[in-house]
């Protein structure tokens, strides 16, 4: 091999094909792809053959058949007369509900604890540290069992429910609360709320531009609250101020009317939030600690308060370090919600498992679960990647 010919391909020495790294690389890659393809073909064809030999039903036509089982917690109309497809969709919505609320709450709680661990207040820092170590070192499943047992054992039955102001009832059947009776005004209030949010975003942009240009601050937060709360209230008044409520009341075995938050959902949500926020706290803490301490010193020297230093200087920079690992935690929450099955919350996995059992079509149903989790996870990833890019440091 001539050392001098490195970097120029025209003068390459001739070698035998089995010694040529390029050809060898190609051959190996073709062999590997071929083997993987062969393995996949073998698995699929073997499965199909075995299913046919054992006369196990296959195909997705069962999705349109009547499910026949009841689901305890549904966000959309569902009855045993609905189809399997709808039952699975109900489970999917339940999974999304607990995941979305869980992500929201664990981000807030986790950030508070992460910042708290860095506090100069010894007691606060130690409490936060204990919290993190306690929750991230015990498996989530055990927390779920513990919380569910606490709720079902500690709270009284519906007839002895803890009564708050004759309108909220807490028992081992869940928390019952009054809920406004349906009225068209509420739709318009929802629209007014959205308008308020959009208007606030514009006000914030305008205020920032003005402050950059003139140095004049604008009370964005107060204006925002006014817009977001005020507009729906005005619409409510214009709509004749509907105030008829559905009140929970004892009827037969249980409460009737109102809205209920079931113990299974509560236990799962509390478990997920407490567990995940321990990890979120560590991510937030590491993000902040990764910043040079000159940042906080310089900010203090400018006369900013401790809160302002955190909010305006440290957190925005730490965000860039926090977002990528945070994405994994959001994905974890979504996937961990499948532990719901242990405590009886009817999530996606529970609905599909029952379907597997009643139809016997495990492969098709597992494919549905995988596709569902994959699409939710990829959506979360895509959104977080977009957000990460948006807040990334722009070199000028």
């Amino acid at each position: 091999m001539a050392v001098g010919s490195l970097g120029s391909s025209t003068t390459r020495t001739k070698v035998a094909p089995w010694n040529d790294p390029v050809i060898r690389g190609w051959v190996f890659q073709i062999v590997v792809v071929g083997l993987v393809g062969l393995l996949a073909w073998f698995l699929v064809s073997n499965t199909i053959e075995n299913l046919q030999r054992q006369k196990i039903a296959s195909g997705f036509s069962y999705l349109h058949r009547e499910a026949g089982f009841e689901i305890g917690d549904t966000m959309i109309a569902y009855s045993p007369a609905s189809t399997y497809a709808r039952a699975i969709f109900v489970g999917m919505l339940n999974t999304l509900k607990v995941a979305v609320i869980g992500i929201f709450l664990s981000t807030i709680l986790g950030t508070m604890i992460g910042v708290g661990r860095l506090s100069p207040n010894w007691l606060l820092a130690k409490i936060c540290e204990c919290y993190v170590e306690m929750f991230r070192n015990v498996p989530l499943l055990l927390w779920l069992f513990l919380i569910y047992k606490l709720i079902s054992e500690a709270f009284p039955g519906p007839r002895q429910a803890i009564n708050v102001l004759n309108s909220f009832f807490l028992s081992n059947r869940g928390l019952y609360a009054p809920v406004p009776l349906a009225d068209p005004t509420y739709h318009w209030m929802g629209i007014a709320f959205l308008i308020g949010v959009v208007a606030t975003v514009f006000v914030k942009r305008w205020a920032k531009k003005r402050q950059d240009a003139t140095g004049q601050p604008f009370p964005t937060i107060k204006t925002g609250i006014g817009l977001i709360v005020g507009l729906p209230v005005i619409v409510w008044l214009l709509g004749g101020a509907p105030h008829h409520m559905s009140w929970p009341h004892l009827k037969g075995f249980n409460f009737d009317g109102g809205i209920v938050i079931q113990p299974e959902f509560t236990a799962l949500l509390i478990g997920l939030v407490l567990y995940t926020s321990a990890f979120v706290a560590e991510i937030v803490r590491s993000g902040i600690l990764a910043l040079h301490k000159g940042q906080s010193e310089a900010a203090s020297a400018l006369g900013l308060s401790r809160g302002q230093v955190m909010r305006l200087v440290l957190l925005p920079q730490a965000m860039r370090l926090i977002i990528p690992p945070m994405t994994s935690q959001y994905l974890n929450i979504t996937k961990n919600s499948s532990l719901a099955i242990a405590i009886g919350y009817p999530d996606l996995v529970a609905a599909v498992n029952v379907t597997i059992n009643q139809t016997g079509q495990a492969i098709e149903n597992i494919l549905i679960i995988m596709a569902a989790y994959l699409s939710v996870s990829l959506s979360i990833s895509a959104f977080m990647n977009w957000y990460n890019k948006r807040i990334a440091l722009r070199e000028r």
């Binding site: 190996f28 062999v31 590997v32 083997l35 993987v36 062969l38 393995l39 073998f42 698995l43 073997n46 075995n50 299913l51 030999r53 054992q54 006369k55 196990i56 039903a57 026949g68 089982f69 009841e70 689901i71 305890g72 009855s79 045993p80 007369a81 047992k149 079902s152 054992e153 039955g157 081992n172 059947r173 009827k251 037969g252 075995f253 249980n254 009737d256 113990p263 299974e264 099955i341 242990a342 405590i343 009886g344 009817p346 529970a350 498992n353 029952v354 597997i356 059992n357 009643q358 139809t359 016997g360 079509q361 495990a362």
Partner: protein, 343 residues
């Protein structure tokens, strides 16, 4: 790179080998292994539960022991795999267990679409409701609006929905997979009602009520809302193995019908009755036709007992459960248990 290729080749070879093993007869696999793998419930007193020595006992367990005796001549060559109602069919389909003796209700859907076969019916059951006495409910018709604990993936879950639909009532299900967890939820008051087969209700009332509550604090409502014929299941594909299980059950019934018990079987061998001689293998041929030892029934009765003995020991008068024999009496005593003749 080379080692990866090797690993992939080994993987393919292993997968091929696994495929071949699957294609073999179940009975041959059991004999080669030297043990029967039996899928049983995770814990139902009287049917399948660990005793104080940690040994599995119960009616479902006796099915496994009797089959083991027929195949090996010994009742203890069984490995028990506890399975929840949701795991059981997949475990049998995939070959993880040879035989399912899991309080499983015979239905058309399960017999066909699952690729499985039922053999004989070992217990005629029906679905009922267990409620706390202090609830003051006297009939299932009064259960409108109740919260009901039920296991997922069972016929029970479907019957429950059907019953409430037919009677224009509503209910809230609480669905938990493990039997222990769902019973705990019921006794903690999370549900007003626990529903499953009446035999299992009697079992949990006798064995699982947490102190200081007493079994008398709970009642089983009079309505039986379904037929639940329970029986062992096997995979499609090995008819001989299915025959052995089917005739093992019939043999235990025949033995009871002709008065052969574990206590008198040694005298019965000397009997001049041609039927008893055929059953016990004194006149050879029956075991051979089935592909097992000719003394198979003798061994089963000697080591496990006849059907009545098994019943009395686990769920009948000699047990905690004290369930009346009811429709599970022999046909000669007005029940439904009727075995075709061994001849």
């Amino acid at each position: 790179m080379r080692s990866f290729v090797l690993a992939a080749a080994v993987g393919v070879a292993a997968a091929l080998a696994a495929g071949n093993a699957f294609a073999g007869k179940d009975l041959d696999a059991i004999k080669a292994r030297g043990a029967l793998i039996c899928g049983v419930p995770t814990g139902i007193a009287g049917f399948a539960a660990a005793d104080s020595q940690g040994k599995w006992v119960g009616l479902d367990i006796d099915v496994c022991r009797a089959v083991s005796t027929a195949i090996f001549g010994e009742s203890e060559k069984v490995k028990y795999v506890p399975l929840t109602s949701q795991q059981r069919f997949t475990a049998l389909q995939s070959g993880e267990v040879d035989l399912l003796s899991n309080n499983t209700t015979v239905t058309l859907q399960r017999d066909t679409a699952l690729g499985l076969d039922f053999t004989a019916i070992t217990y005629y059951d029906g679905q009922g409701f267990l409620v706390p006495r202090k609830l003051g409910v006297k009939s299932a018709k009064e259960l409108d609006g109740a919260t009901i604990c039920v296991a997922p993936g069972t016929t029970t879950e479907l019957n429950l929905a059907d019953y409430f639909r037919a009677n224009k009532m509503t209910f809230k299900p609480v669905v938990i997979e493990k039997a222990e967890e769902i019973r705990a939820a019921f006794y903690a008051g999370r549900c007003d009602v626990y529903t499953t087969d009446v035999s299992s209700l009697a079992a949990t009332r006798a064995a699982n009520v947490p102190p200081p509550a007493k079994p008398e604090d709970f009642i089983i409502l009079p309505e039986i809302i379904s037929k639940e014929p329970l029986g062992p299941m096997v995979r499609h594909g090995d008819n001989q193995f299915a025959d052995i299980i089917r005739w093992t059950q019939f043999a235990m019934l025949e033995a009871e019908e002709y008065g052969i018990t574990s206590g008198n079987v040694d005298e019965m061998v000397k009997s001049e009755n041609p039927t008893i001689k055929r059953i016990l293998g004194v006149t050879p041929g029956m075991g051979k036709a089935l592909g097992v030892d000719d003394r198979w029934v003798y061994n089963i009765i000697k080591q496990v007992g006849n059907y009545g003995e098994s019943y009395d020991r686990h769920v009948g008068p000699h047990s905690l459960l004290k369930i009346d024999r009811g429709v599970n009496r022999l046909w000669t005593q007005g029940g439904l248990q009727y075995a075709p003749p061994i001849r």
